[in-house]
Amino acid sequence: MFHWLEKRPFFFAVAVFVTIAFAGLIEILPNFAQASRPTIGTAPYSTLELAGRHVYIKNSCNACHSQLIRPFKAETDRYGHYSLSGEYAYDRPFLWGSKRTGPDLMRVGNYRTTDWHENHMWDPAGVVPGSIMPAYKWTFTNIADVDTAYAEQITIKNAFNVPYNKPIPMKDGSTTTVALADSLSGAHASALEEAKVVAADMKNQNVKDAVANGQIPEIVALIAYMNSLK
């Protein structure tokens, strides 16, 4: 039979394809619908947070940082509760990473704060002696891309029914809503409101001035994103 195939490239290719294709179906499909259901307390990203997430991706922070807490005592002691599938329901793409050159950041919003991030992103080794993380000074001057974040929000709301402007159940029984502006200028305005809250806790005068002038440096968006990781 194999000799037969080896003389017939078409059937050979079909046989190879069938052999390699069906494993994927069996592994990916069965759990597909269930895995995308959010847990209670998981909300979609706001415009500023999403812009910050894009800064995170742009600089490949995921090359050194994971966002996946495995169920081991040592790991939950260090980072907090182990990860649940539904907590990632709004993560497109997922950012689990595969290498921990630096620590996990899945819940970093619980135990690091705005001013600490500000110092750390400016000069990691100045805060943590021996750190090998690069400094990210340019994020203090580059302006965050709110437009693209807003475009992505519209896209996922339309394509995947991400519940913007809808009540989202929280763990304590209350609900919250994540607003999605109905125009680009509205998105800029609401992102700026969020940015002001972050900038208020920061010390870098250029950043504060920029926000006061209606601009959002990347670092502000990035910190808003990291603070949202809980």
């Binding site: 490239p9 294709a21 996946l68 630096g102 693209t148 519209i154």
Partner: protein, 492 residues
């Protein structure tokens, strides 16, 4: 007419040989820079504060992985295909103007794609998925390049004179099909500019899958990208170049057959080992572990088949650096396909995952197996495509030992670094508290990071020797016109 040997046309093969070498240098140079950055973080600023954004570790890392995978390795695969394909199918590219045109188009479009990748990654335009960082416009270019290659493969097969397909061809076909399937599904993404009616960056897209599902699709891709780029086509190479260079017949057809179909069947099920202890279901993780163990056998099957092909030929191994490269490549192949399954055992992965031990595993595979095989293949091809003898055998021998030392330093240091760090992360002290803060587990790695960087540098130096040797070969003494059969001619 009948008795004249075929004139094979190596134009396209030559083009891809050049890109293999150039992109190999780029990719490995960046790898060495990354390695030194982890040991000496000041190097993140190597071009000054002003360019720091483009020289920081995070920006450069995807450039390294994509340059060596989609640049160096793919070029090597294409170069050997355009060489081996003609010969084992007994048909020349020169016989079809159409295939020749497709082949050249394949090369030039590929180069355009590579240029776009380099620029976009330096600018930070990435989707973050490992080995699938490219945004949708580049995805489209890649699909076109791939289709062109497919046309070339099946076109050549269509006009072949050799009825039945040689083992290497099986593996090239599988490479083509496997990557096509995986790449398309993992890159399902919606361009946000168009979906939002023209807002934001035109090249930006958002993944069709979210969270756990995205991870599942990504590692189904990521694992099998390793299969179909770092394993399957490299096996295609060794099945041609080792018997050819040594003049020995392949040890066992049955073993080739079982290894091939075994590999095809088993590989795809093992992707779960990248997601152990994550939020994907337990059964899926277990399946990944179990199939990883079974995978040892079809992997080792090919390696053993090659080692047995050299039965009784020790004098060749001893005297030919080219054969040394290939024998050591199979050895490293065995090493990494045993190491992988060991790391896929859940309890071992609990320690190894996220650490440098994985990086060590990656590089004993890619440096010792992929890199060695591609260089050996090009060494074998050079005298035949340029009709010259290899410039220097002693340079080649020196290169072999330098690079072997480089690989050994690389993986031993990373293995120790990984196990050390993994243990420190897990350690509790006498009070039940974490014994180390994260930074303590970073600073201990400094010596190992330095050793790795030196090992990588040695490998790069060896690669430069290889490039120089090939370059000088092009201008070396011409050899007789008649078809070279086995051992490649080398000057001292």
């Amino acid at each position: 007419m009948e008795n004249r040997p075929l004139e094979y046309d190596y134009t396209v093969a030559k083009m891809f040989m050049f890109s293999t070498i150039i992109l190999g240098i780029v990719g490995m140079l960046v790898g060495v820079i990354l390695a030194f950055q982890l040991a000496f973080p000041g190097l993140n600023l190597m071009l000054g504060e002003g360019l720091a954004e483009y020289t920081a570790f995070g920006r450069l890392r995807p450039l390294h992985t994509d340059a060596v995978i989609f640049g160096f390795t793919l070029s090597g695969i294409f170069a050997t295909w355009y060489y081996v394909g003609q010969r084992v199918l007994k048909v020349s590219m020169a016989e079809s103007g159409f295939l020749m045109f497709i082949g050249k188009l394949h090369f030039w479009l590929y180069l355009v794609g590579v240029a776009a990748v380099v620029v976009s990654l330096l600018l930070g335009i990435t989707t973050s998925k490992e080995y699938a960082e490219f945004e949708w416009p580049i995805d489209i270019a890649i699909v076109i390049v791939w289709v062109l290659w497919g046309l070339g493969i099946f076109g050549l097969i269509g006009i072949r004179r050799e009825q039945s397909l040689y083992i290497s061809i099986w593996y090239y076909i599988a490479t083509f099909l496997g990557v096509a399937m995986l790449y398309v599904f993992n890159n399902m993404e919606i361009p946000t500019y168009f979906a939002s009616g023209g807002i934001g960056a035109w090249y930006h897209s958002v993944s069709m899958y979210s969270g756990t599902n995205d991870a599942l699709v990504q590692w189904w891709y990521g694992h099998n990208a390793v299969a179909f780029v770092f394993t399957v086509p490299i096996v295609a190479m060794i099945y041609y170049f080792l018997p050819k260079e040594s003049g020995q017949a392949v040890y066992s057809y049955k073993l080739s057959l079982l290894s091939f179909w075994g590999l095809m069947f088993v590989y795809l099920w093992a992707g779960g080992h990248h997601l152990l202890f994550s939020t994907v279901p337990d059964w899926l993780q277990t399946m990944g572990s179990v199939f990883s163990i079974v995978l040892i056998l079809p992997s080792w099957g090919s390696a053993i088949n090659m080692l047995l092909t050299m039965k009784g030929e020790w004098q060749q191994v001893a005297s030919s650096p080219l054969i040394k490269f290939m024998i050591l490549a199979s050895t490293f192949y065995m090493f990494s396909t045993l190491e992988g399954p060991i790391q896929a055992i859940k309890s071992v992965n609990a320690l190894a995952h996220f650490t440098d031990w994985i990086v060590g595993h990656v590089h004993d595979g890619v440096l010792g197996w992929v890199g060695f095989m591609i260089m050996a293949s090009l060494f074998h091809m050079a005298p035949r495509v340029f009709k010259r003898e290899i410039y220097s055998k002693s340079l080649m021998t020196t290169q072999f030992w330098i690079q072997t030392l480089g690989v050994v330093l690389y993986f031993t240091s990373m293995w120790i670094a990984g196990i050390t760090q993994g243990m420190m992360w897990r350690a509790h002290d006498e009070f039940g508290n974490l014994a180390y803060s994260f930074i303590d587990t970073v600073t201990v790695l400094h010596p190992y990071y330095t050793i790795r960087a030196v090992g990588g540098l040695l490998y790069l130096v060896g690669f430069f020797m290889f490039a120089y040797n090939i370059y000088k070969t092009m201008s070396a003494r011409r050899i007789e016109e008649n078809e070279l059969q086995t051992a490649s001619p080398m000057a001292a």
